[in-house]
């Protein structure tokens, strides 16, 4: 599914954080948002999910989701893996997945698909999710969002604080989803984390899109990378 954001302005109270921001994620494409802490990346995702006051247009396929209630937006086919995972830490792995399946209904078929992507979760169903390791928690957060069978997936710094081996398996999952035609908006601070999976990259600063390009064009822009990502 395609996600189109046009002229997005977002606010926390009277403070404007995003300004006239325009972004498109096509079907089966990974768009990476890069930018330093405080640039407004999380606010973009929260605006899409209806959690931040905003104006402008946010289209999912040909459905306008801007202005819908926050609980209606996931029903349109969008899954969200928030920064810091936001698992229901006191609930078990199974209960977290059940919450993911509230919209689509529980069926063993889609659970099987999820366990194929994240086999470790199958052994941990009864465990309280707050007691999982960081990498397992991230996998659960992704699995929970995939229970919605989303056409568009929003990932906010999924590799933050993870070991390299975990980062690699999360990357694999992103690639598989991309092949299945899911549109993915991936937020990261480190460019090396996204380079292998990105189709396009957008640099965010102070709530603007400062530059946007195909992944292959990045190699020609070492200054940009140094400037916006601090590498």
């Amino acid at each position: 599914m395609k996600l189109s954001i046009e002229n997005l302005n977002s606010f926390y109270g009277s403070v404007q954080v995003l300004r006239e921001l325009t972004l498109h994620v096509n079907t089966g494409e990974v768009l990476c948002l890069l930018g330093r802490n405080g640039a407004g990346k999380t606010t973009i995702l929260k605006s899409i999910m209806g959690l931040v006051e905003h104006n402008g247009s946010i289209m999912l396929g040909d459905c306008e989701i801007s202005g819908l209630g926050a609980h209606e937006i996931p029903r349109k086919g969008i899954g969200y893996v928030p920064q810091g995972r936001r698992l229901f830490a006191e609930l078990t792995v199974k209960e977290n997945l059940q919450i993911g399946m509230l919209i689509k209904g529980e069926d063993s078929h889609s659970l099987d698909r999820i366990f194929k992507l994240f086999p470790v979760l199958k052994e941990r169903l009864k465990q309280e999710s707050g007691t999982l390791s960081g990498g397992e928690q991230q996998m659960l957060a992704m699995a929970r969002a995939l229970c919605l069978q989303p056409g568009v997936l929003l990932l906010d710094e999924p590799t933050e604080g993870l070991m390299p081996s975990m980062i690699a398996s999360i990357r694999d999952v992103v690639l598989k989803l991309r092949e299945q035609g899911v549109g993915i908006l991936l937020v990261e601070q480190r460019i090396d984390a996204v380079l292998p999976v990105a189709n396009r990259v957008a640099f965010i600063e102070n709530g603007y899109v400062k530059a946007e390009m195909e992944r292959d064009e990045l190699a020609n822009e070492p200054d940009l990378m140094r400037h916006y990502v601090g590498i």
């Binding site: 999910m49 209806g50 959690l51 209630g69 926050a70 609980h71 209606e72 937006i73 996931p74 029903r75 969200y80 928030p82 936001r86 229901f88 830490a89 006191e90 609930l91 209960e95 059940q98 919450i99 993911g100 509230l102 919209i103 929970r144 919605l148």
Partner: protein, 294 residues
Amino acid sequence: MDFGPFLFLATLEGLVQAAVLCLIALGLSLVFGVMRVVNVAHGEFYMLGAVLAWWITGWFAGNPAIGFVAAIIIGPLLVGVIAYFVERLILRKVEYDPEATIVATIGILYIVQQLVLITFGPDARPVDTPFYFLIEFPWFGYSGYKLLVICAAIMLLLAVWYVITRTRLGLVMRATQYDRETAQNFGIAVNQVYAIVFATGAGLAAVAAVLIVPIQQAHYLMGRDPLLLSFIVVIIGGLGSIRGTLVAALIIGLSDGIISVFFSPTLAKMVSTLLVAMVLVFKPEGLFGSRSQL
């Protein structure tokens, strides 16, 4: 009477208190746990349940059991519906802001109280016991109805426990309690959950009132003591902790009942208050209140 049987009698009285208090405090605790709303008007929903029970039993002449059964079904339902609209029309409008909800529920307290005074008058109203039946112990006969109150409360508590821990609705409630924003990201209509929880909380208080009203009388000021006691219980148990609420209600209800029988109700209230003070000093999060747990 010897000390042993006397203590047994006092314990039974305490258990009746504790059973009713469990229901009332559980309602308060659910509302606080899920919605983070301190419902100062909780005692008025209890009072409303009692007054409605008197009103409804008045429709049925003859066998008091029929009127009672009608009251215990219709009364809490009506109170739940009223609470539902209170939630929609008032709490939602102030966006559940902690300070605003306290002020708002104080207002609701007085409005409900005065409306009941205007409509039903200031008199204490008796409700007939649905059946009169003495259980004969070797030392004394004890009201079968009071034992029924204990059993009914236990069954209701088990039912609530089952809903919260084993059903989809319970899972949705817990998700909302732990992280309201993330719950919405999975399609949970948090506003609806709040309305259901608020109505259920008020309904629990009303059920407790219908159970107790054949023992005490219905009166427009009767909501005050249970409100105070259930706040004490919820603080001792740990805000938002259901297990803690039940344990604390048992402790406070039993000690209140037993001390009242042996010494005086005033001393019983002093002990409860002292307990709360000690909990607040030594374990401010309550006996079971780590984070926002069940």
